[in-house]
């Protein structure tokens, strides 16, 4: 092509960070999806609640006040203070506990997704790129992992090790790598044959460099979609574990733990079980909406 040299240099200067420009395009396309934006807004609110809990919560989430137990939503207590969502069986403010409950949920969510995401990315890259024996071994490991009823394995392991935040994060993180690995592997299988990868090889790049600099950035978008949607799953699992008494232990408020308390009072105090469940539902729904939007924008053919 006979493009004048000056024009070509200009072009290169403008394209200094093509990656960033691409992300701006994605962000604009994502912003046109109203449901995805709604999901993002919900997620942001939950994150703000978790970070700002000490300032946002109207009352102490742990302090008990037996004289004001089981006040229905909106009722004033003996001291004339109002409780929007009522109080629980120990007289604790339900709204305050729900705001604080966002903390363990998001902490487990982010940390477990980080662990399983990194593991899965590593396995997927190696498995897809090198293929052969290594691929066989990893894919059989994936089959074994998937054969377990997830929640049963998690509670068995946590039962032995004892429930604590690090144990919960590691157990969920280590046992959730398969989806990431499969999606990344699939992307790598097709990337491996592309011209730019062959060009990198021809220029003398070693496998490690090709993987990290050329293949990984291109396998990142499907990975990101999986990570977002998996976050929703992890938050449900965290609250399920808390519900069974195998999550973060009291007195730390957790949504699942509050639900378990509320279940006992189901016939007399409906609000105890209703509101914490709504908190989980809204958070998970927000993440799912955002994740669906992300998938439709970044990688519409990805089947999840």
């Amino acid at each position: 092509m006979s493009v004048p040299i000056s024009a070509r240099t200009l072009d290169l200067a403008a394209a200094r960070s093509p990656a960033r420009r691409e992300w701006t395009v994605f962000a604009r396309r994502l912003a046109r999806r109203r449901t995805a934006l709604f999901g993002l807004a919900v997620v942001m609110i939950v994150i703000v609640a978790a970070l700002g809990a000490p300032w946002l919560a109207p009352y102490d989430p742990i302090e008990q006040d037996i004289t004001n137990r089981l006040r229905p939503p909106g009722a004033l207590d003996a001291a004339g203070r109002s409780h929007l969502f009522g109080t629980d069986h120990l007289g604790r403010d339900l709204l305050a506990r729900m705001i604080y409950g966002a903390r363990p949920a998001l902490m487990v969510g982010f940390a477990a997704v980080a662990i399983s995401g990194l593991l899965g990315m590593g396995v997927g890259l190696v498995s897809g790129y090198f293929g052969g024996r290594i691929d066989d071994v990893f894919m059989r490991l994936a089959d074994i992992q998937l054969a377990f009823p997830f929640i049963l394995l998690a509670i068995a392991v946590i039962g032995v090790l004892g429930p604590s935040l690090p144990v919960i994060i590691v157990v969920i993180g280590v046992s959730s790598w398969v989806v990431y690995a499969r999606v990344v592997r699939g992307a790598v299988l097709s990337l491996r044959e592309r011209e730019f990868v062959q060009a990198a090889h021809a220029l003398g790049s070693r496998d490690g460099r090709v993987l990290v600099h050329h293949i990984m950035p291109n396998a990142f978008t499907p990975w990101l979609v999986v990570a977002t949607l998996d976050m929703a799953r992890v938050i449900v699992i965290e609250s399920a574990l808390s519900f069974l008494g195998l999550g973060v232990q009291p007195p730390t408020p957790t949504w699942g733990g509050m639900l378990a308390d509320g279940r006992v009072y189901i016939s007399t105090a409906w609000w105890l079980a209703t509101f914490p469940g709504l908190a989980i539902l809204v958070t998970v729904l927000g993440i799912n909406l955002f994740g669906d939007g992300l998938r439709d924008t970044l990688d519409p053919r990805l089947k999840l």
Partner: protein, 305 residues
């Protein structure tokens, strides 16, 4: 065909071997299985005696071999709490869990496939929006919350259905809906996207062009071709259902394997936990093997892979 089946069978056996190793390993997570199995206040002498008696001083691989041979014979040791063989306790409760999982799957298929088809055929109509929103809510709703809300409405408020136990058909309704909702949502979305893809294919346009009316196109031409991913997901969802039974059975006091294993974990009754995890995982592996065999008939291309 034979080669494909033989390879799938070998893979399944390999997976079961891996499963048995992890189940065995659960007891060794703390390093000392004697400490896991004995009450926390046992004396050092008791622990040592127990270790000798159970053979925990043997090399690791010998212990695993013993566990594996035992597992093949259905021997997972005695339940610490019930004093009966752990295997028998779990097997006794399998029918209840299968009944619940089967009912949940039935609920899911009966709701999801029509909903998914209607959604795809009447795309962007009010029906589609309603079904999409309901599916999205279903996928985001925690099982245990749904179960409690159903109890709140149908048992506490209106006193229509029993909230716990197993026996009559009425007992099955709430747990089956609770357990089946997530799967319903998944299959609805999958059916919708599968049907949309198939309906835009050339052979559908051909069928319409030659004058085939609407309903045979949908039911005969399209659904048959959209069925393969649905059959696959049914196998995978069975794992979700068996695992989800842990929570649903706990909420509704359903006397199945899930509830048994949660109680066993609270009671530190690990032989029962091991037997339950092993048997549920084996069931899942066998069902998926069966699913693979079924869809080699549905889609001959798979045999060649």
């Amino acid at each position: 065909m034979k080669i494909f089946l033989a390879r799938r069978l070998a893979q399944s056996l390999l997976v079961l071997l891996g499963v048995s190793f992890i189940v065995f390993f659960i007891l060794y997570l703390t390093g000392d299985p004697a400490l896991v199995l004995l009450p926390p206040d046992s004396s050092a002498e008791d622990v040592e005696k127990f270790r000798q008696a159970m053979g925990f001083n043997d090399p690791f691989i010998v212990q695993y071999g013993r566990f594996f041979v035992g597992a093949l014979h259905g021997n997972f040791g005695q339940s610490v709490r019930h004093g009966e063989p752990a295997f028998g306790l779990v097997v006794e409760r399998m029918p209840a869990t299968f009944q619940l999982a089967g009912a949940a799957l039935l609920v899911a298929l009966c709701l999801a496939i029509p909903a998914g088809i209607v959604s795809a055929v009447r795309r962007n109509t009010i029906l589609d929006y309603v079904s999409t929103v309901v599916a999205l809510l279903g996928q985001s709703m925690p099982t245990f919350w749904l179960g409690i809300m159903l109890i709140l409405v149908f048992s506490v408020q209106f006193n229509l259905l029993p909230s716990s136990g197993r026996g009559s058909f009425e007992h099955l309704i709430l747990p089956a809906i609770t357990l089946g909702l997530f799967t319903t949502a998944r299959i609805t979305r999958l059916t919708r996207s599968g049907m949309l893809e198939v309906l835009s294919q050339d052979y559908i346009r051909t069928a319409r062009a030659k004058g085939v009316s609407d309903s045979p196109v949908v039911w005969k031409h399209a659904l048959k071709n959209a069925a393969i991913p649905i059959v696959t997901i049914v196998g995978i969802e069975l794992g979700t259902l068996l695992g989800g039974s842990v929570i649903t059975e706990t909420i509704f006091a359903w006397p199945g394997v899930g509830r048994l294993s949660v109680q066993a974990i609270y009671n530190r009754d690990y032989p029962v936990v091991q037997a339950a995890v092993f048997l549920l995982s084996s069931t899942f592996v066998l069902v998926n093997l069966a699913v693979d065999v079924v869809y080699t008939y549905l889609d001959p291309r798979i045999r060649l892979q």
